[in-house]
C-alpha cells in the first residue's frame, strides 16, 4: 500500500494505492494526518481509484479522517469509489454523514 499526498489550493489529496486493511491503515493514517495537521486544508480528498481491496479498517480510517476534518472546520471528500468498495461503504452508513 502506498499513499501519494498532493496539495492543491486549500486541498489535500491523498491517493491510496493497494489494499486497505488493519495492517496498512496505520501508515495511511499517519501519512495523511501529518500533512493535514501541518497544512490545515479546507478539503481533504481521499482518492480510491487504485484501491484493490478494503475491509472495515478502511471505514474506521474514513470515519477518523472525517472527525479530524470536522475539528478543523473542513470537509472530507471520497472520490473514485468503485462498486466493489462502495458495497462496504454503503453497509457502514458513512454515506449518511454526507452526500458524496
Amino acid at each position: 500500500m502506498a499513499v501519494k499526498i498532493e496539495k492543491r489550493s486549500g486541498c489535500v489529496i491523498a491517493t491510496l494505492d493497494g489494499d486497505i486493511d488493519h495492517h496498512t491503515a496505520k501508515n495511511i493514517r499517519e501519512s495523511i494526518d501529518s500533512e493535514v495537521e501541518k497544512t490545515k486544508p479546507k478539503i481533504l480528498k481521499l482518492d480510491f481509484n487504485k484501491v484493490n481491496f478494503m475491509d472495515s479498517s478502511g471505514i474506521g480510517l474514513i470515519m477518523g479522517r472525517y472527525k479530524l476534518m470536522k475539528l478543523l472546520n473542513g470537509d472530507l471528500e471520497l472520490i473514485n469509489v468503485s462498486q466493489r468498495i462502495g458495497k462496504i461503504m454503503r453497509l457502514s452508513g458513512i454515506y449518511k454523514l454526507k452526500k458524496y
Partner: protein, 147 residues
C-alpha cells in the same frame, strides 16, 4: 454433500498475515470461478475474522490462527477461523454493528460485514479459551468442477 477439496492453514497473529489469509482463501476457491464480487465478499469476510483475532483475541500477544476450508460439490464453501485467544464475553453484543472495544479507529463493523457478505455465520466463544467463527457461502459453479 460431497467435499471436493479442503485445506488447512496455521499462521501467527501478525497483521501482515491479514492479506496472506484472504489471498490464500481467494486462491483456494478460484476453482469455482467466482465472480469478482463473490471473491471480494469472501476476501472481506476472511479479513474481518482474522483481524478480530489479531486485534482482540491476541491483543497483547502473538498466538496461532487456524483456518480450515472446504469446497462442496454444489459450490458451497465453508470457512472456519479459530483462535485460542481471550474469547468474547458477550457474542451477541459483539455482533451488534458499531460495537467495538478496539478504540477510536475501529469501526465496529467486522461481524456486520461477515453477516452481510456471507450466507451464514456462527460464532462460538469462551473466555480464556478462544473464538471460532464458521462462515458459509454458496457460489453457483460457472465451470464444471474437476473432482
Amino acid at each position: 454433500m460431497k467435499i471436493i477439496n479442503e485445506m488447512r492453514l496455521v499462521f501467527p497473529s501478525k497483521s501482515l498475515n491479514e492479506s496472506f489469509a484472504r489471498t490464500t482463501i481467494a486462491s483456494f476457491i478460484s476453482c469455482l470461478d467466482p465472480t469478482i464480487s463473490e471473491l471480494a465478499d469472501i476476501k472481506t469476510a476472511v479479513s474481518e475474522a482474522v483481524t478480530n483475532s489479531i486485534v482482540h483475541a491476541y491483543k497483547e500477544t502473538v498466538g496461532s490462527i487456524y483456518i480450515s476450508s472446504q469446497i462442496y460439490e454444489n459450490g458451497k464453501i465453508t470457512i472456519k477461523i479459530k483462535d485460542k485467544g481471550s474469547g468474547i464475553e458477550d457474542v451477541k453484543k459483539a455482533m451488534e454493528p458499531l460495537f467495538t472495544t478496539g478504540g477510536e479507529e475501529r469501526a465496529g463493523l467486522g461481524f456486520a460485514v461477515m453477516q452481510s457478505f456471507m450466507d451464514k455465520i456462527k460464532v462460538i466463544s469462551k473466555i480464556g479459551k478462544g473464538t471460532t467463527v464458521t462462515m458459509e457461502k454458496t457460489i453457483i459453479p460457472r465451470v464444471k468442477l474437476n473432482k
